[in-house]
């Protein structure tokens, strides 16, 4: 709904643009490209005055006047100096870029908290949907504007304006100063365009210096579209047609987006459409066919598009509805970024990868859009997200976020790669923010970059920098840089402004000539894309480059210090997950980026003959060696598991999640190699050896055999570091004596058998069963130590423990049968890896004799155990993952105590219990997690009342057992 209403309203606002372009291109026959600049001027002037609290209507009038001034300059240059109209327009448009920046004082002015025409209208809204109300009011406004302009073109001045464009010689011969009329006409047209800009800025909630790009083409497309759809010689109808053309244009864009077209192609399609229309009309002239026949064709085409679009919409809706019914939970997430540039793409890809890893894969639809630097397209994309009923919208980059924050209040928004969300009104502080908005943000501490440069080069005092003032973030960074330099009297700053990649080389050379001794560069999209030009200028003079962009280290920056934009996407993914899990975005604080990367390029240092002190090298996260190889301090992790089984997977999930929560994601800023030993001890040894040969930074052994292997292989070198998980008794495996006294390169979280808790649960569930059978592999160190403890506890509590030992998974079935034969009336699994690998055999043997299987492992419950009492393995993995992150960040394993995971859980399989008629005691129901399809009717006895009189009337007998639990009984 919003998509179509929004497109209509945008179209009406663009109607002003269409009118302006119609006046120049059709009435004056003047190719005026000034509009690309005046569109922004209108927005800028309006925004500046609105922020100061001026009445919106007055602000629009001032924008109109400002537009007229700009247009009259173009007109003046053209008529006075006989400069081609196109060239004059280009000159003024180019100049206006700077002028607009001066008017605004920065590249972007948010209007969220200012009174605007939109808020003014909302104030008198009689209770309609805001877009519908806006549509009504805008229609009335445009109708009035239409009548006024149509009337104007019947006045003496209006007629003269038209005749000037139609036949300047005749008009001049009639006593008209045609130059003055032309100037007036171009001014009027640009006034209209400025109004359009002013309206759009208020509608989208901000003015941006880049918002005018492509305005002329949009205007021309609207005019041509209007002319094609409605053909008339009457000026009034023509004016109406072009306003309609603007609406149709916006609809085409909305439709294209709705149909899933890539917004990158929109401009191409617009250009093609204009071209085809022009060729068609030209062709019809050549063939002398009657032009009048064409409108019919176009009406048919338009009707086809509308019917096609709406039926697609309906079908699509229905499919979605049925999908919704079928699937338990499916999500639709809109992802929008302002443009396809490197930094933003890194964030987006990391986000998508992380979402996939979190399990949002097949059940989640990601609609990924880029606005291709066009802010009105941004609005349309957001509209399309809303009409597609997105559950959540991820906005990457500041402009995308700004537009979304202003426009959307009922869908959760998560932003990423935004330097400062507070400047445009997303919130006042990390915790106090708009209810539907949260996200990740952070700015590179440019001051620290300056300090770093001074630490390494105390003698280099002249800092050179550059940036595009058109980027809000760049301004922000440069401001920090200026302040830092300003506060250090020894330093001086040379600054150059760039507005296109082509400026960069010249700016760099001029900085070098001005004596810049060190380059400190902010995060800037132009610098990002044309870093080579800077290097080309700096390298011959051996000027070191300090970049705030981590990606540029490999390209020849000496030092990089900044954020890994992947971690921004990863953190955003975690926020998204929380919201999809039902958390309210209002309660989720904005998060700063967690990970800062310090990179050193020793190759550059070597080439320049610079000696980098070791203390910096030690601190660096990423180093490019003199021989060019990256000893990327992208930490490498070798993860080895005993075999692939659900428990192990659960542990792994915990490890990955913990790492991701700390900002580390496999393949992006850490490298995890994952191997399974396939329950083969020799294989595990080989894997560990391979890890050591590849020089991994951390080995993560999951399970005791894997830990043992890792310990053995590193016994002499004490390297690499080892962080284990899913190990029952690490000390028995040889990791050390106790929590704090252990081998220096080893740490981790153990999962102990909660012996007493196990026996408690067994006693409650099966009070009659006292003979516990255990099958275990005598060569597993963990099983040995567990059994030792378990044996003692069983003896103490009068349980009879029956043991059978095995050495391979193949023996499990036989061993289980044998332990049952020995008289076991309950089988206990104690975390033996070999048994876990062929757990199905245990179930097979036990179920044949209707003997319950209890395990310390929750995964076994799904596989046929009736109950599990033990460590929450996901938490165990998560704990270990946090240790891994701490080791990556530089802590020593020796300083991290080896402790057990405290989280214990009891899980009961209600299906199995029901199948064998085992009643689950209510005491257990209270503490255990129940899995299984059969509903467990759980009465709260303290709240139960029974009416025996009614029971008698219905002929129902109520058992004494139930009566005993009832609090109140009506006799």
């Amino acid at each position: 709904m919003e998509l179509w209403l929004g497109a209509f309203n945008l179209g009406l606002m663009y109607g002003f643009l269409a009118l302006g372009v119609f006046i120049t291109s059709r009435i004056l026959d003047f190719a005026d490209i000034t509009v690309d600049g005046t569109f922004t001027t209108g927005a800028a002037v309006g925004a500046v005055f609105l922020v100061q609290g001026m009445h919106p209507v007055l602000a629009i009038l001032l924008a109109f006047l400002a537009g007229m001034v700009c247009g009259s300059i173009t007109g003046f240059i053209h008529t006075k100096f006989k400069i081609d109209s196109l060239l004059a327009g280009i000159l003024v448009m180019t100049a206006l870029y700077s002028v607009n920046l001066h008017i605004m004082g920065r590249s972007n002015i948010p209007l969220m908290n200012s009174r605007s025409i939109i808020s003014l209208l909302e104030g008198i809204n009689p209770g309609l949907h805001s877009e519908i109300w806006l549509m009504i009011v805008m229609s009335v406004i445009m109708a009035i504007i239409w009548i006024i302009t149509a009337l104007f073109f019947r006045t003496d001045l209006g007629l003269t304006l038209r005749s000037t464009g139609d036949n300047a010689i005749m008009t001049e011969a009639g006593g008209v100063n045609v130059n003055a009329v032309k100037v007036f006409g171009v001014a009027l047209a640009n006034g209209f365009v400025a109004i359009a800009g002013c309206f759009i800025a208020q509608y989208q909630g901000f003015a941006d210096v880049g918002m005018g790009i492509g305005t002329l083409v949009i205007g021309l497309a609207s005019v041509i579209m209007g002319e094609t759809v409605i053909k008339s010689r009457s000026i009034g109808v023509k004016l109406l047609a072009v306003i309609l053309g603007a609406v149709i244009y916006r609809y085409m864009i909305a439709l294209a987006l709705f149909a899933g077209m890539n917004p990158i192609d929109l401009k191409l399609i617009t250009a093609l459409f204009v071209l085809i229309t022009l060729i068609l009309s030209h062709w019809s002239k050549i063939r002398k066919t009657r032009i009048k026949r064409h409108p019919v064709l176009y009406w048919i085409l338009l009707a086809a598009v509308i019917i096609g679009g709406s039926s697609y919409y309906l079908v699509h809706q229905n499919i979605r509805k049925s999908q919704k019914n079928n699937q338990v939970k499916s999500f639709k997430i809109g992802v929008v970024q302002i443009s396809q540039n490197g930094i933003l793409n890194i964030t987006r890809d990391a986000f998508l990868k992380e979402m996939k890893r979190l399990g949002y894969d097949e059940n989640t639809e990601f609609i990924i859009q880029s606005a291709d630097s066009d802010i009105s397209t941004l609005n349309t994309i957001l509209d399309s997200f809303q009409s597609a009923d997105c559950d959540l919208i991820l906005t990457i980059s500041t402009p995308a976020t700004q537009a979304a924050v202003n426009k959307i209040s009922d869908t959760p928004l998560v932003f990423a790669t935004v330097a400062n969300p507070f400047v445009f009104g997303a919130g006042k502080s990390e915790t106090e923010h708009r209810a539907n908005v949260t996200g990740t943000y952070g700015w590179v501490p440019m001051d620290q970059l300056v300090d770093l440069s001074q630490e390494i080069f105390p003698q280099k005092k002249i800092v050179g920098t550059m940036g595009n003032p058109g980027e809000a973030n760049t301004n922000f960074y440069l401001e920090i840089l200026r302040n830092t330099v300003h506060h250090n009297p020894e330093l001086s700053l040379k600054e150059r402004t760039i507005s296109a990649p082509t400026d960069v080389y010249e700016a760099s050379v001029s900085l070098v000539n001005q004596g810049a001794e060190v380059f400190i560069l902010p995060v800037d999209n132009i610098i990002y894309s044309s870093f080579d030009s800077i290097l080309k200028a700096a390298a011959p003079h051996q000027i070191p480059i300090f970049s705030s962009d981590v990606d540029r280290l490999k390209d020849g920056a000496l030092v990089s210090y900044g954020y890994d934009y992947a971690s921004s996407g990863i953190q955003a993914a975690h926020l998204v997950q929380r919201i999809l899990n039902g958390e309210d975005p209002a309660g989720i604080p904005f998060e700063r980026y967690k990970k800062m990367v310090f990179g050193l390029n020793l190759k550059v240092a070597h080439d320049y003959g610079i000696e980098i002190p070791d203390r910096f090298i030690d601190r660096a996260d990423k180093i490019i060696e003199p021989n060019g190889s990256v000893t990327s301090k992208t930490p490498t992790i070798g993860l080895v598991e005993f075999s692939e089984h659900p428990t192990s997977t659960s542990v792994k999930r915990g490890v990955y999640d913990a790492l991701a929560d700390q900002g580390f994601v496999n393949g992006i800023n850490i490298e995890i190699t994952e191997r399974s030993g396939n329950a083969d001890f020799q294989m595990i040894n080989a894997i560990t050896q391979d890890f050591i040969a590849r020089d991994v930074d951390i080995i993560v052994p999951l399970s005791t055999p894997c830990l043992q292997s890792a310990l053995q292989m590193t016994a002499k070198t004490f390297s690499p570091d080892i962080v284990f998980s899913f190990v029952s008794d690490p000390f028995a495996a040889g990791a050390g004596q106790d929590a704090t006294h252990h081998i220096s390169n080893v740490t981790g979280f153990s999962c102990v058998l909660f012996c007493d808790e196990v026996l408690d649960a067994i006693q409650e569930f099966f009070p009659q069963r006292k003979n516990i059978g255990v099958v275990w592999n005598s060569s597993e160190a963990n099983s040995q130590s567990i059994l030792k403890e378990f044996r003692a506890v069983c003896k103490e509590r009068n349980f009879n423990l029956l043991e059978v030992t095995i050495s391979t998974p193949n023996e499990v079935l036989e061993a289980t049968r044998s332990v049952i034969h020995k008289g076991a009336d309950l089988i206990m699994c104690t975390g033996d890896n070999t048994v876990s690998t062929s757990f199905d055999s245990v179930i097979k043997a036990a179920s044949a004799r209707k003997i319950p299987v209890v395990s310390d492992n929750v995964q076994h419950v799904a596989a046929g155990a009736v109950m599990s009492v033990g460590t929450d393995f996901y938490i165990n993995g998560y704990d270990a993952g946090r240790y891994v992150a701490r080791v990556i960040k530089g802590e020593k394993p020796a300083d991290l105590p080896i402790i057990p995971t405290k989280q214990m859980e009891i899980t009961v399989n209600s299906d199995i219990a029901a199948k064998y008629g085992w009643e689950i005691p209510s005491s257990l129901l209270d503490r255990a997690k129940i899995v299984g399809k059969r509903p467990i009717r759980k009465f709260a006895p303290e709240a139960m009342a029974i009416n025996l009189r009614l029971a008698k009337e219905y002929g129902v007998t109520i058992s004494d057992k139930i009566l005993a639990t009832a609090q109140e009984v009506i006799k």
């Binding site: 003496d156 007629l159 005749m170 009639g174």
Partner: protein, 270 residues
């Protein structure tokens, strides 16, 4: 009425395209006089007309109309005094505007163009009456755009538009040259009627010796940017087309014109 003194004009001075178009033209035109101007191609007759209209600034000399010195005025500031009809029928009207709108624009000759609507029903009725005088059945087609009319119809309307506000001077620049003979005759009839009825002062450039002799009160002959002959009404009455051609033959002798070129002249002017 019109007083031209020692007028000089060189176009594109100092270039390969340099043309010394007017070489000291002196001309006095009395009120109510209708002058026809003849001359070979490039003789400067159209340039003279453009000079009076103000299309360019002369290098030297002065132009006065009604004792007002207009030499420095651009053409739009002379429009209240001077109206023009161009050779090209497409130049005199705005093709994408209606007949009524064109007539309305003509009615604004030399006046301020304010953003006020004067173009109402009463005016349109007035224009309908006016266009009836052309006797071309255009009075019912006032809402048609001019571009749909024939060249002759357009030239007739241009003529009407030129005389509508009764300016002091009418300039006609070979305004029938692009029309077929029948239409040309029709336009000439209209021209004669408008000028004679209103006693306009008129300067008319023509290619037709016939027209030059039949029309107007005085004929001047131009060659190489100068007036070489000035024939008053009395003289005109005695002259024939052949006499004029003889005059050109004399020029030929003086300038060694070839027979071939004379032939061409004859074809052109007969």
């Amino acid at each position: 009425m019109i007083s031209i003194k020692n007028l000089h004009k060189t176009f594109n001075p100092g270039t390969i395209n340099e043309v010394y178009a007017l070489r000291g033209v002196d001309l006095e035109v009395q009120s109510g006089e209708w002058i026809t101007v003849i001359g070979t191609n490039g003789s400067g007759k159209s340039t003279l007309l453009n000079a009076i209209a103000g299309s360019f600034q002369p290098d030297q000399g002065s132009i006065q109309i009604d004792d007002e010195d207009l030499t420095a005025f651009p053409s739009h500031r002379r429009a209240h005094l001077v109206a023009r009809v161009f050779q090209n029928p497409f130049q005199g009207t705005a093709p994408n505007m209606t007949i009524a709108e064109n007539l309305h624009l003509a009615s604004l000759r030399g006046k301020q163009r304010l953003p006020l609507v004067h173009f109402g029903k009463a005016r349109i009725e007035e224009y309908a009456q006016l266009i009836k005088t052309l006797e071309m059945q255009l009075e019912n087609r006032l809402d048609n755009v001019i571009g749909m009319l024939s060249g002759g119809q357009r030239q007739a309307i241009t003529l009407l538009m030129a005389v509508m506000t009764k300016p002091k001077v009418i300039l006609l620049d070979e305004h029938t040259a692009a029309l077929d003979p029948k239409t040309a005759a029709q336009i000439i009839r209209l021209t004669r009627r408008f000028i004679e009825e209103n006693h306009f002062t008129a300067v008319m450039v023509t290619h037709s010796m016939q027209q030059a002799l039949e029309l107007g009160t005085r004929t001047i002959m131009m060659n190489k940017g100068q007036i070489i002959d000035d024939l008053d009404t009395q003289v005109k009455k005695r002259l024939t087309v052949n006499d004029l051609l003889d005059k050109f033959a004399e020029l030929r002798k003086a300038e060694q014109l070839t027979d071939e070129m004379l032939d061409r002249l004859r074809r052109e002017y007969m």
